[in-house]
Symmetry: C2
Subunit: 355 residues, 2 copies
């Protein structure tokens, strides 16, 4: 895999990940772009003891453009997009409407109980393919493997940036999830703090030594919620799943993050994950693109790396062909999830999909 780094017209970095070592990228972004906006402002919520990002500039971000105006497609002689080249394998670039971005550290206060600071960090877009109409599930193994390598490389790179304390690689798929661009892509966030979910999991792991390994062993022993497995990975519906269809894909070895995976582990992940995504799209019989969030839970950059255990959380709010699970009062206001699908039943349905 070859990496080539360049800059867009407004100074944002773009990095090509090529499957051929002789790939060359020299095209220049000729657009007349305004400078990138300020990053968000972080505000401390004293009642829940969490940072909230306020990013007012994102209200104007590109929203479901027609295909012939897609900013993630390669450029053509007639139209300049976010990617200056006329073709690419996998390409990563800084988000034009970032929640977190490089900035001088700063501190202020909104009220005496709500300190604020700049949303220092980084937000990147990862285009999985130049093919606008593809999906992650439709990628060949070789391309999905390149995406994984790119995510690992960017995780390592973002961890080196000033202020970044956790790196999050994810894909939002489907308008039901709020996706604003259809072109197959994921995102990478470099957060300037350890996220609330990660803090909660690390707290649990601190209180019970070996927690993640015990959960994995228990699911493998029970078997009834396992959807797929191979030598290096097990995919299962967690016993206390919050979402109608939720699968955790967990490596058999405790590793903190994607860069720490061996080549053999990466090679083993890709076909298992592609199979899982294809099962999701076939869950209700005829092919039906499943809205989903696919989230890599990685160790923080600076702390508790010995406690963390890398895993992928894949989940969908679709509970029936024509029904979504909404996060209403109980979930959104109180944090109590009510799941309408039995985890064992979700696992059985996923196992029994006829591809």
């Amino acid at each position: 895999m070859k990496q080539t780094s360049s800059r867009l017209a407004d100074g944002r970095e773009i990095i090509y990940f090529d499957e051929r070592d002789d790939a060359v990228h020299t095209r220049i972004d000729t657009r007349d772009l305004a400078p990138p906006p300020q990053p968000s402002q972080l505000r401390w919520d004293p009642l829940l003891e969490e940072w909230v990002a306020v990013a007012a500039h994102r209200q104007t971000r590109t929203f479901l453009p027609p295909t012939d105006e897609c900013p993630l497609c390669p450029s053509t002689p007639e139209r300049a997009t976010e990617v200056p080249e006329y073709d690419y394998d996998v390409v990563v670039f800084e988000n034009r409407f970032p929640s977190f971005a490089p900035a001088p550290a700063s501190a202020g206060e909104i009220t005496p109980l709500t300190p604020s600071r700049a949303g220092v960090g980084r937000c990147e877009v990862v285009c999985f393919t130049a093919d606008h109409d593809a999906s992650f599930a439709s990628l060949p193994v070789s391309r999905a493997r390149t995406v994984l390598a790119a995510q690992a490389a960017r995780t390592a790179a973002l961890a080196e940036l000033p202020g970044v304390e956790q790196v999050f690689c994810f894909e939002n798929r489907g308008v039901e999830i709020g996706v604003t661009l259809h072109h197959p892509h994921g995102q990478i966030y470099g957060y300037p703090f350890v996220t609330p979910r990660t803090r909660a999991m690390l707290g649990a792991a601190r209180r019970r030594a070996g927690l993640f390994g015990e959960v994995l062993a228990a699911e493998r022993a029970a078997g009834v919620r396992v959807v797929a497995a191979n030598e290096h990975w097990t995919a299962y519906v967690p016993a206390a799943a919050r979402w109608p269809f939720e699968v955790h894909v967990v490596p058999h070895r405790q590793v903190p993050d994607l860069p720490a995976l061996t080549d053999a582990e990466r090679d083993a992940f890709v076909p298992l994950y592609l199979d899982l995504l294809r099962r999701m799209d076939r869950l209700f019989g005829a092919p039906m693109p499943m809205p989903y969030i696919s989230a890599w839970h990685q160790a923080p950059v600076l702390v508790d790396r010995d406690l963390a255990w890398l895993h992928l959380q894949l989940f969908s709010p679709r509970r029936a062909p024509d029904k979504l699970k909404h996060l209403a009062g109980s979930e959104s206001a109180m944090g109590v999830f009510v799941n309408d699908v039995l985890p064992e039943e979700a696992a059985r349905l996923l196992r029994e999909v006829v591809p």
Copy 2:
């Protein structure tokens, strides 16, 4: 206000709250109903250390029926609904598809790390009016006052039930929130545990004495996020709001829950809240029903009642007339909220609505 308790055909309790003291309710539910389903199963998530409810029977619950099949309208000579009477003011009854319901306590385990127990508790529906086409915002002050009295009475009643540890009164409004019945109604949950959000807030209050009062005082002093106020209540957009439009309505006195409010406090709440809801519906110019969640945060039944401070959290995911905020990867997988609307701007817009 007069309360009359009765039973539906399958044994569920129904309670009428009448504004006239001479109201009589004697109509019998003549439907042939199957017995109520088992309650949900609670499963312990060892990674996040939270209970999750699994309620598979709710998949078959009534979903957006046509108006002439509404189960919350009064019955007619031709059609029996959930409410046997031909008219009512406010009526509360046990949910036919409950997440939590009375049951013998039980304990089991899904895996050695995921203990389970019965979802003991109670779920009630609160019909605000017999008028199918009304909304909370359109209620007269007298009716909204009766709803508040009913919520307070039910909070006190549910707190007495075996196993109930927290009572949650709320309204989900709008199909965007996942509402499955259009008739104006709210819900009351009696949870068999203290909810995650409440645990987090009480933890913060324990670590900083006087926290809630300090936050209220700081918002009143700053003023810029205050939307409305009167002698007993202040309504403000919190400095670290998570949602595009989020307002907290807080009493000026520390009270644990609705039953503890004085008559004067109740009287003062109603017009302020109705004004707020009407502003929400007019936020984008022409009247446009705002999807929202309205959530009363009350003290737990058994513990930490001295730490809690009752407040209402009203929030909408609508960030523009044609756009919703979705909880995508950052919010749903990591717990990090990115708010696209500046809280000071949200407060200004709400203040400037021309009713």
